[in-house]
């Protein structure tokens, strides 16, 4: 299964490499959302306080595009069915795709963060390692349920509408933890030192839950799809 997971990850990353327009499209979509929030903000002080939440809002909305597109590639020539029949272990398909989606989101996040910090005139006053950990855990927490729900909605008509409807209620609690933790680390100070690691633990628990359940249910859904 590990070999097949690597093979699926290789395929996903190779596809993204051969079609870079896809990831740049997701980045510009996220950037446009972030800029809109910046323009709509009543004052610079408020915007500075909202920097972390703005970043996650852009990423959450852009992630639906990324996850939806990840299945469009599979469905053009029904390659997903080809993988099931080849046969590739459904868990390998899930974990390979989910890791690739997490990497894609993290790349978008890395490109988006400097823009958000500049636009909000914010910095990272707290532990920078903790800040990176929040970004990584948040992106992986979005990718894990997104890869599962992307499979469910991918074959339905109007998948781009269905995916957020299913995904957002599941990821919002996790994203609240990510946004709160990110904002604390950006502000720095004793509250960041005290509360930051706690929010990270909450994020990690959500990650553990989503990655485990995704691996369990993906096989049932892919065989019955």
């Amino acid at each position: 299964m590990i070999r097949q997971t690597w093979a699926v990850l290789y395929k996903e990353l190779l596809t993204e490499l051969r079609q870079p327009a896809r990831i740049s499209g997701i980045f510009f979509f996220a950037l446009a959302l972030v800029l809109l929030v910046g323009v709509a903000s009543p004052s610079g002080v408020v915007l500075q306080k909202m920097a972390g939440a703005t970043l996650w809002l852009g990423l959450m909305l852009a992630s639906t595009r990324a996850l939806d597109q990840s299945y469009q590639v599979e469905l053009e020539h029904n390659a997903l069915e080809g993988m099931v029949l080849w046969p590739v272990d459904p868990r390998a398909v899930y974990y390979g795709k989910a890791v690739a989606n997490a990497v894609m989101l993290l790349l978008v996040c890395c490109a988006l963060t400097p823009f958000v910090l500049a636009m909000c005139d914010a910095g990272i006053a707290g532990n920078k390692l903790l800040f990176v950990a929040f970004l990584a855990a948040g992106c992986s927490g979005l990718a894990a349920p997104g890869t599962l729900f992307g499979l469910i909605t991918g074959q339905a008509r109007g998948s781009s509408v269905l995916l957020p409807l299913l995904l957002f209620p599941i990821v919002v609690p996790m994203l609240l933890a990510a946004a709160r933790g990110t904002m604390l680390v950006m502000e720095g100070g004793p509250s960041a030192e005290m509360e930051g690691p706690g929010w990270l633990k909450v994020l990690l628990v959500f990650n553990l839950l989503h990655w485990s359940l995704g691996g369990i249910f993906y096989g049932y859904i892919i065989e019955d799809g």
Partner: protein, 218 residues
């Protein structure tokens, strides 16, 4: 022939209220070449898709090598190669990249270039499959099938979109599969081409088997 490779026992499959297969009972010997014919909607593709395990049957039983197919699908799937209408290709990757990816997924170490040459595609071509014609995609899907080296080969309308050379290639490959001991099932409308690679002709109509006879050779 060495025993029975595939058995259909009262196999039925429906889509909504309509039965696409209405109780097919059939035995296919190991190494046999079977041509499936019938008008559009007669159940040829459904039969092949059920045998490939892409579709679950709603009634009856399919046995491959004496084992119930669906219950043992994970162990049987590697031995079944299926050329479907879809082709199972990645549009953004080149032909060689596609074969490399499928080889990696199957844990195989295969050089894609000889396979691409065999199916008449330029091996060094780097542009994505998106730019290929339908016929070239069909050839690439055939190369993917060859990569798998299956014991049971299922070809669903393999001659579609191919020129005369391509059709000859399909027949030659089908023969090669059979010479290597594989069992062949081919759904087609082009009886004249398929009869060169098959020795048995099964006709379907409205999901039912209406004829089962040896292929007539001139």
């Amino acid at each position: 022939m060495h025993g029975v490779a595939i058995e259909f026992d009262q196999v039925a499959r429906r889509f909504g209220p309509r039965w696409a297969l209405g109780g097919i009972t059939l035995s296919i010997g190991a190494g046999e070449g079977v041509m499936l014919t019938g008008p559009n909607g007669s159940g040829k593709s459904t039969l092949l898709r059920c045998l490939s395990t892409a579709l679950k049957i709603h009634h009856g039983e399919i046995r491959v090598g004496g084992q119930e197919l669906w219950a043992n699908r994970q162990t049987i799937r590697p031995s079944i190669g299926f050329l479907s209408h879809a082709g199972y290709l990645y549009d953004d990757l080149s032909g060689a990249d596609n074969l490399r990816v499928w080889a990696k997924l199957g844990g195989m170490t295969a050089d894609p270039h000889p396979l691409l040459e065999r199916v008449g595609l330029p091996p060094k071509r780097l542009d994505p499959v998106r730019t290929y014609s339908q016929g070239m995609r069909r050839r690439l899907a055939l190369a993917r099938l060859m990569l798998q080296k299956p014991k049971i080969v299922l070809l669903d309308e393999p001659y579609t979109a191919l020129d005369a050379d391509g059709r000859r290639l399909v027949t030659d490959l089908a023969r090669e599969f059979r010479e290597s001991g594989a069992t062949l099932l081919m759904a087609t409308h082009l009886v004249s081409y398929a009869s060169e690679a098959c020795d048995r002709h099964i006709a379907l109509l409205d999901g039912k088997l209406v004829d089962d006879a040896p292929v007539e050779t001139e």
